[in-house]
Each structure stands twice: as structure tokens, then as C-alpha cells.
């Protein structure tokens, strides 16, 4: 392997240096029909699951075929996507915020033909490369984080839990049979890079054991005051320990105060807390971000812990499927999952979803907890 220079000269790093140019302007990437009708769209229809039609004031129409992807994708795969866009869409495409790909065409028949083509493309292992769907009252692609593929704080894997879940709810992706859209999101630790806290269903990796303290190295790797300040519950304090006759500056942890957020580990690599038995998944439901009918809402924890059981996490997909089925049967048209649960009452939600309500589901974290307790005698048996 010979080093190939790009033209960058480390001796003169500022020579010809280009910085702070930002991304290219988005108009460089718009299909001609999209560019021509920019800001002049009249209405849209979903022709069938995964196929949208947008009509502009000019009378122009654009047909979009939306397909799901594993968001972890390789350059070989992206080139395949480009080949499709070159052949069918004049070399243009877009990604949605939920990691779907949208191919846009001006001909309806061709769009439907493309849907067929995309559904027929398979990976060597048998899965569909570009399953078409993710529109309307169904489940769309799951936004997720890195998990065990690439992150240093995860309590579970992301790509694997998402693959297992999307396999389990695949029919809801390719169809539009639910009362309203269901957004599933995944974050592999409480840092929530995936910001899953306002999702209809959130898959969240959690730790359950306090950090292990690497006493001998801690003071070399961490700023002790920062590690102390990082703890939101004041469970970490400066301390000293003696090991083999030598004294080390370190921290002590009041374990009963730890709520396993991992923030101390983020500040100090000598406080790891990941653990095979301790780590797993919490499921949250009933959040949304849209202002439609009801206000945006936070997701609520309904299953405090499910063990990591790779590669398929069957206990997790079982609960998700159960919740989706109960929602599908019980909710009114247009009613989001959280609105349905609030209407029937959360006590009823646990009953119809066949979920156990445990002490762990009663909030005890600071002030906001109070607003989740019941201050009325209006409840259901």
C-alpha cells in the first residue's frame, strides 16, 4: 500500500486550504421538474403504498417511489442506488429523514414499474434490497444510532435490533393498514443520539449496573472534577484508594444513587458500565412530534427492561408486535398510538397489550415525576 497524496502538503497546511464552505447549495441537486415547480406544489396523493404523486400549479406531476434501506450502507450499495437513479430518474434521488430513499419520475406507469423492479432486487442472503413502502398509515423506516457497530457507550446493538424489528413489522411497512402513521425509533444508550424520546415506539438501550472504577488509571485519563460534575444525581465524589501499597487518586460511587445514564463514562473512560447481563432494552411508547390534532408528546416507558438476546431480540419484537396489534384493533382512524393509549387510559393500555405494570414504571426522577402521578379519582378498573 503506497500512500497516495491528494495534493495536501503537510509541510504547508495552509497552502490552498479551503475551509468553511459548508454543503453545496441544494438547488444543485434538484431534478429539473422539482426545480421548475419549487414552491408551487398544489397537492399530493399516495397512489399505492410507497408511491406518491405530487401535482404542481403548472400541471406538472412528479411520482415518487419510496423504499426502505438499512441506513448502514456500503459504497457498493450506494453505487447500485445510483445506477437505478441514473437509469430511471435522470441521475437524481433523495433520502428522507427516516433513511428511506426516494426515486422521482415524471411518468406514472414507469413509477409503478420501478416499484416492481425495486421489490425484486435482493441481497445474496435473500433480503430485499429496496422494499417499497413507508408511506401513510403504516410503519416507516426506523431511525437509529450506531450500537455495537461503531459506538463506545451502547447498551445494545442498533442495526441488529432494527433489522429484527423491521422484519417483524414488514407488512406494516409495505401496507397502510394502521389507524395512523407509527414512527419507531432506536437509540442504543441514554445519550439518545437518535432522540427517540418523542416516538410512537422507542427502542432504547439501557445499562443497569453502576460503573466499574479503573482506579489505577483513572487519574491519568480523566479530570476528576469533570467526572464528579458529570453525575446528575451526585453519586460520584473524589476519593483515594490504596492498591498494593500505592495510593491512587480516584473517585468513589454511591451506588444506590446511580441511575446508569453513563454520563460519567462519557467524561471519563475509566468508568465503563457496559455489561452482558446488566445491559438491555427499555421500550417506550406514545410519543409524537407532529402538531396534528394533539400536541407533540414524549414517549413513556412501558417495558423497563428486556435482555439483549442477539441476533434477533425475540422478546423485544414480540412486545412491539403485540403493541402494534392492540393499537391497530383499538384505535380510531387518525389516532396516534399515544392518543389511543391516553383515550383508553394507560391502565387499560397495559391490559390490552398484555404488559405487566411494575414499580419501575412509576417515575421517581426529579420534579417531572410528580406530573406523571394521578391526582384524581378518575381511573378505570
Amino acid at each position: 500500500m503506497a500512500f497516495i497524496s491528494s495534493g495536501y502538503n503537510p509541510e504547508k497546511p495552509m497552502e490552498n486550504r479551503i475551509t468553511d464552505i459548508g454543503p453545496q447549495h441544494f438547488t444543485e441537486f434538484l431534478q429539473p421538474v422539482i426545480k421548475k415547480n419549487f414552491g408551487k406544489w398544489l397537492y399530493h396523493e399516495i397512489l399505492e403504498a410507497g408511491v406518491l404523486k405530487h401535482v404542481a400549479e403548472s400541471g406538472d406531476a412528479v411520482y415518487t417511489v419510496r423504499c426502505g434501506t438499512a441506513r448502514l450502507m456500503t459504497v457498493t450499495h450506494i453505487r447500485e442506488i445510483c445506477d437505478i437513479a441514473d437509469e430511471w430518474c435522470g441521475g437524481y434521488l433523495r433520502f428522507t429523514t427516516r433513511n428511506n430513499i426516494e426515486f422521482m419520475l415524471e411518468d406514472e406507469a414507469k413509477a409503478l414499474e420501478l416499484k416492481k423492479f425495486l421489490n425484486g432486487q435482493k441481497f445474496s442472503g435473500g433480503s430485499i434490497k429496496f422494499p417499497v413502502g413507508g408511506t401513510g398509515a403504516g410503519v416507516t423506516n426506523i431511525v437509529h444510532t450506531q450500537g455495537w457497530v461503531h459506538c463506545h457507550t451502547p447498551a445494545t446493538d442498533a442495526s441488529g435490533t432494527v433489522k429484527a424489528t423491521m422484519d417483524a413489522v414488514f407488512d406494516q411497512f409495505t401496507d397502510m393498514k394502521l389507524p395512523a402513521p407509527v414512527r419507531i425509533s432506536m437509540a442504543c444508550c441514554l445519550n439518545m443520539c437518535g432522540a427517540v424520546h418523542c416516538s410512537d415506539i422507542a427502542i432504547l438501550g439501557i445499562h443497569r449496573k453502576p460503573p466499574i472504577i479503573d482506579h489505577k488509571y483513572l487519574d491519568n485519563l480523566c479530570e476528576i472534577p469533570l467526572a464528579v460534575a458529570a453525575c446528575p444525581t451526585g453519586a460520584v465524589r473524589p476519593s483515594k484508594v490504596e492498591i498494593d501499597g500505592e495510593t491512587y487518586k480516584t473517585v468513589a460511587i454511591k451506588e444506590e444513587r446511580c441511575m446508569f445514564c453513563g454520563n460519567c463514562y462519557t467524561m471519563c473512560p475509566s468508568l465503563p458500565l457496559a455489561d452482558k447481563e446488566g445491559d438491555g432494552i427499555a421500550l417506550m411508547v406514545g410519543g409524537k412530534v407532529s402538531n396534528r390534532i394533539t400536541k407533540p408528546a414524549f414517549s413513556k416507558v412501558v417495558v423497563p427492561f428486556i435482555p439483549n438476546n442477539p441476533p434477533r431480540w425475540p422478546e423485544m419484537t414480540d412486545v412491539i408486535t403485540r403493541i402494534l396489534n392492540a393499537y391497530s384493533e383499538g384505535a380510531n382512524k387518525y389516532e396516534r398510538l399515544g392518543d389511543w393509549a391516553a383515550r383508553i387510559g394507560w391502565e387499560r393500555f397495559f391490559e390490552v397489550c398484555d404488559l405487566e405494570f411494575t414499580e419501575h414504571l412509576i417515575d421517581d426522577f426529579r420534579d417531572p415525576a410528580y406530573y406523571t402521578w394521578r391526582q384524581t379519582t378518575q381511573f378505570k378498573w
Binding site: 447549495h25 434501506t69 445510483c82 455495537w148 433489522k163 429484527a164
Partner: protein, 439 residues
Amino acid sequence: MAKHKTPLLDQLESGPWPSFVSDIKQEAESRAKNEKGLDYQIPADCPEDLLGVLELSYNDGETHWKHGGIVGVFGYGGGVIGRYCDQPEQFPGVAHFHTIRVAQPSGKFYTTKFLRDVCDLWDLRGSGLTNMHGATGDIVLLGTQTPQLEEIFFELTHNLNNDLGGSGSNLRTPAACMGMSRCEYACYDSQELCYNLTQEYQDELHRPAFPYKFKFKFDACPNGCVAAIARSDLSFLGTWRDNIRVDQEAVAAYVGGEIAPNAGAHAGRDWGKFDIVKEVVDLCPSNAISYEGGKLSINDKECVRCMHCINTMPRALRIGEDTGCSILCGAKAPILDGPQMGSLLVPFIEVNKDDDYQAIKDVIEGVWDWWMEEGKNRERVGETMKRLGFGALVRAAGVPIDARQVQEPRHNPYIFWKAEEVEGGWERSIDDFRKRHQR
């Protein structure tokens, strides 16, 4: 023959959903064949080693990536995230495996030319693995080594005319919905505003000077397709002040069943005939709609612009024409103090390209100046706002106090009156007091 046995991961090749395992395997195969005869700048077998280390995690139930490490390109404090494997002997191909965040075009529209250029760059100088896209919206290139960082940055800027994204305690790469490019609901040009602010604040994006991360997200209507209200420190949500435009003929076509409601979003199931009273009138959250004698009326003064009626009958109802955006502040995920939704800071602001969005920039910079002064290390602006009060934020932003900023007035009378607000001030004489009251 595969370098590592991956029996657990192999099970993720079955099932209908696209398998990332199959994809990584095809990448491994492509790199092994190397049909283009590339002189790979990082180990060619890194996709195989990535599968190997992931399989190990599936067995161990623990990650095998080490904590951080400071790497980056000259002059930037963000855009590259250091990553090292904690089993480098077993998996040398991914021993060093840094992430690069690349600024994505607003709305994530692409030409295949651009994507192919990114692929060529990443084939040669990286692992060939990407995320399209990261949670904040960047193009994320997974896995390269330190000597490649400047080379990648050089090629990205010189050949692809594109920059890195943000990471660390700085402005994160702003993200917008597709807005006016293909959506009839767009109340303002979310992509252009996103682009403009991204360019304006390149320094804040690349050189960490904030207490913690800061996110802008742009939703062109209250439907919120990029989830701005839930996950951005300042969210820009499109809205309007005048009346919803009604086409009564199209209303009749919905009632008559000629047009499917909700743009056909419920076509997968038989929900029965469309019932405008049940499905639109009765679901209006502010009871602002009536339907009598075949005519739909909206009491726009009472409308809260939730979008439900428009979403349900997009061919009959359109957003108003006096459009702009609302600005909400302080959304974040639960770390550390629990989740926060954005709180309404500015009910309506013009989105005016002609003056370079100055009114919006004034709000942003007011909030930043205050937060940089008052915010603690690793404190999101939403937490500073909670600690110091929403009133302080409103003052910092330089916007008027408005009843719309609260759901309801306060529940307690513990008001922090200031001396200048009270007649005669706070200074009083104990001697005067004693003249009226014995000790």
C-alpha cells in the same frame, strides 16, 4: 472464504428487510476482488474485521469500541470523531476506525454524480461503509485512519466542493425538511433558511465555543417531518397568520367519495365511507370547523393550525398566504435532566430572504450570547432556560412577552419582582419602620 465466522450475524441475512450484514459482505467481496485495482489507503479487509468485531459483541453483549480519542483536521474542532477498537490484534483492519461527518445538502436531495464522487473518495481512503444518514442529518462516513483525515478533507473541499459537518460542543449540522422543493404544505423555504444559516455560522459549526452541542432544525409546517420541536435547541416551524384557503368544489368531491381522504394514506384498510363530520369537523382540536348545507366553514380566528383538516383534504384546503415561522427553544433528549420539548419563544417571525433573515439571526445571536455567558459546561440551552427561567430567555432573545409563550399562567405567586418594579424601590429605613412599630 470469510475471514471471521459470523454465525449470529448470518442470521440477520434472512427476513425481508434489507440486511446490513449482506451489504457489508458484498463490500468485503468487492474489496477483495478490487476490480478497479485501487491502492486502498486503509486495510482492504476492514469490512470483514468490522463483521468480526460485531460478532464478538453479539457474543459478549458488550461493545468493543474504545472511548473517543481526539482527532480532526487542522483548524477545525468538529467533524471527525476518533474511534479505536479494543481488540486491535484480532481485528487489525478496524484498529483505528474514525468517523467523518460530511455536511449534507439541505433536504437530502442528491445527484448520482455527487454520491459517486463520495463513494470513490471513501473507497480509496476509507472503509467503504457509511451511514446515509446520521441522526442529525449528516452524511456519515464510517471508518478511516488518522493519516487519511487531511487527505479526505482536501479532496472533499477541492474536488467535491463540500465541507465537513459538526461534532463536539458546537453548532451541529443544521437539517431541514424537504420544504418547498416537493411539498405543498411548506410555509417558508426551510431549505434556503437552513442553507443560509449554515453558511452564516460556519465558524460556530467548526470551532467549539459553546457550553455544549446546539442544533437548528427546520420544519416548514406544523406536521414536523424532521422532528425539530423534539430535538433541536432552536426549532423553526412554518406557520401562517391568515386564513386556510378552501375550495368548496373539492370539499364536495371528498364528501362524494371522488377523492380519497388523507391523500390515500389509509388505503390499505376499509375504514368505510369518508365522513367529513366525524373525520374532520369533530377532530378539529379547537372546534373551529363546521359543515352545514354542503359547505365547509373555518373560523380561522379560533384555528390553531394543527394541519389535520389540510392533511385530510389536501386538494380542498391549503395553508394561508401570510406565512412565516414560529421559533421554539430548548428541545433535547433526556440526558441529563429528562427530556424537553421545544418551548414557544417567538410565535411568528417573518422568514425574509431579502434582508438575509436578519430578524431570525437577531434572535439566534441573542440566545447564544446569553447561553455562552450563563450556561454551564455540558448544559444544553434548554437546561439553562429551565435553571434561569423562561423570562430570562425571552429577554435574551429580545422578543416581546406574549401569552402564547405559555400553556397557562404560573401556579404559584413566588414572583421575582425587581426593585425597580416596585413603587419606592426596596431601600427602606429601619428607623422609619420603628416609628410605626415598637420593638
